[in-house]
Symmetry: C2
Subunit: 378 residues, 2 copies
């Protein structure tokens, strides 16, 4: 028997009571029992997104909601800025280009956050920019981007919105949509929402809904206006992923019980301890200046391939993530979001210490586990 | 306590062992354990679709794969025939129009199957028709359309394909894709595949893949070529709905054990018994000439609203479906697909007899339950 520990940035572990709820016999999506569940879910999503707007739910991965945002809000030729500082920033850029938008890429070095001044200057220079497309948390690099500050720039401009992929942001750190003036917030089920993959979410400000009315791109399955109309009647445009919706109700009720502030504080604690532990081990953070509380990206030490770290941990039953694209082998990523607690951080660090020793890395004087434990005890 | 019986045409009941498999801790979609599961699933899907081609899997409802078919295979201006004889036939037509295709609608009276001669004449007259879009089983009316005969027309034409929505066809009756020359076969998880909603499938013939290379419509999440490339490497383009894939492995192994021929024969038996029982009750079938073995649509008897039949059954814990759009109130639909056995048909008929009596319908001399039982005993 080898016990398994899932510490990758999505899918993340699903709490047992949620697995159990999803294993109940299927409910028909037009039956009154489903309507009650969905009503509760809609309310819980508003609390989670901190918005008065409807949070739309789709049966798809998060990418579906990202594509939906492009085709529902823009038209060919529209000028948009894409913050490209990781795999998911590139996705915004690719999506814009595929649909004929005029995409101005801001290339940010992987591991760095975008500079607000750079966006401000571009907005000033280009004039008619319709949107800034960015990540709240770039999962591929472990960076947190300054969406609040960018929203301060866009909210003063009548014809510019900020579109936020918060797939590893929602439920991890504060992103009060209405208060900050975030115009589109997108997330997925398999991150801080502690569910299996298969649900995507998108919430739009009234300013963003105006963009929807002007868009000329065709859409069908990801038709936001149609989904809104249905949601307001308590239903879904197309057959919803019923079992995941049932699980979502459980998860949202857990979040409500912990409170959103509590959830954010827990993630902050876990992330701080993880980063402290990593540095105690003499390792370097990949995103030291603006780290995301969802996932910690670590530079592979000299002479050690990051993929070997991933494989060695897998041999111990511990699943983490490697680097993607040009940082493959150069970094590895340890997640601490969703159904995660202090002992998971200690597990990750203990396993990492052992893996690095096996790979011939000479550990610095201090133990990562001890350093993290001190944080938790303080 | 009121026991619940789900007898609607999707979502359908999920077998307990499948619910249990899906309740296991989540597997990471890049881990070797997932690759093994997905390899088994790919093989099982080929058996189910009776094809040598790859069966693509998407995290979405079936509509996503229908939209995917349009945007991956056609271009604005392409001429296509849509068989419009129910809600889902209308969906093909709508999808084609939204993406600028030149859609020639064949309007078929709801409850009737399309006439092959009509399609033959249209193909002859119009010449450059790219595709015939149709349903194998029109879920909204309970009709089975003659896809085999239509495929005989299209396979002789180099530039015409037949596109089959088989969402309530695959796993219900024989649709040997390669043998019959079906060019696109689409299905979903929540029908005969006995899973919760959330997965859609599409398989393409080599002729259809040629259409894919010529298509000019943009796509991203439902990019068939990208998904094929990933599937051939044993993975998915975007985060797959892991728990549903795990359930799918169980379901495909159940189907293999029963054999596809056995699955089809079971559905034929159930459907025959249901139709016999309905007629014994003195009720009229809505699709007597070409009934689908997935679902039996029944005309509401004079003076009784079909929606009242649905509601009365719900009061007994039995969920069936009503009519949609202009046949709402005029028909009701009893499903017998997926995880369904003989006693489910008897349950449906017994509940229906009681409901009709409550609603004041004078039952004909014979009992539907007895008539169906005779079929099962023969």
């Amino acid at each position: 028997m080898q016990k398994q520990y899932l510490l990758a940035p999505g899918p993340t572990p699903v709490p047992p009571q949620v697995l159990q709820a999803m294993a109940l016999p299927i409910v028909h999506h037009r039956a009154p029992a489903y309507k009650e569940i969905f009503a509760e879910v809609r309310e819980g999503l508003r609390y989670l997104f901190q918005t008065e707007q409807e949070v739309l739910v789709f049966a798809s991965s998060g990418t579906g909601a990202m594509e939906g945002t492009i085709i529902n809000l823009f038209s060919p030729g529209d000028k948009v800025i894409a913050v490209r500082g990781g795999k998911f920033g590139e996705r915004w850029s690719d999506l814009g280009k595929i649909y004929g938008l005029q995409v101005i890429d801001i290339d940010v070095e992987w591991g760095q956050a975008v500079k607000v001044a750079e966006i401000a200057a571009l907005l000033e220079r280009e004039g008619d920019v319709k949107a800034v497309l960015m990540q709240a948390s770039e999962t591929s690099t472990g960076v947190m981007h300054p969406v609040r500050e960018v929203a301060e720039l866009t909210r003063e401009r009548e014809d510019t919105i900020v579109v936020v992929d918060a797939i590893t942001g929602v439920g991890v750190f504060a992103l009060p949509m209405d208060e900050w003036g975030l115009d589109v917030v997108v997330t997925g089920s398999q991150k801080a929402l502690m569910l299996p993959p298969g649900l995507a979410f998108a919430a739009l400000s009234q300013k963003a809904w105006k963009f929807n009315r002007d868009s000329t791109l065709p859409c069908y399955y990801f038709d936001f206006a149609k989904e809104l109309k249905n949601a307001e009647k308590g239903q879904n445009a197309y057959t919803p992923a019923v079992s995941l919706i049932v699980g979502l109700r459980e998860v949202l009720s857990m979040i409500k019980e912990e409170t959103l502030a509590g959830v954010h504080a827990r993630h902050a604690r876990l992330a701080t301890a993880m980063r402290t532990g990593i540095e105690a081990l003499g390792l370097e953070l990949f995103a030291p200046d603006a780290p995301s509380n969802a996932v910690t990206a670590v530079k592979a030490p000299a002479g050690i391939d990051g993929q070997d770290v991933v494989k060695t941990l897998r041999g111990m039953g511990v699943t983490i993530a490697g680097g993607q694209d040009h940082v493959k082998g150069k970094i590895f990523r340890l997640a601490h979001l969703g159904y995660a607690g202090e002992f998971d951080v200690l597990t990750a660090l203990a396993a990492l210490e052992r893996a690095l020793a096996e790979l011939g890395y000479e550990l610095a004087g201090r133990s990562g586990v001890s350093a993290a434990r001190e944080i938790f005890q303080s």
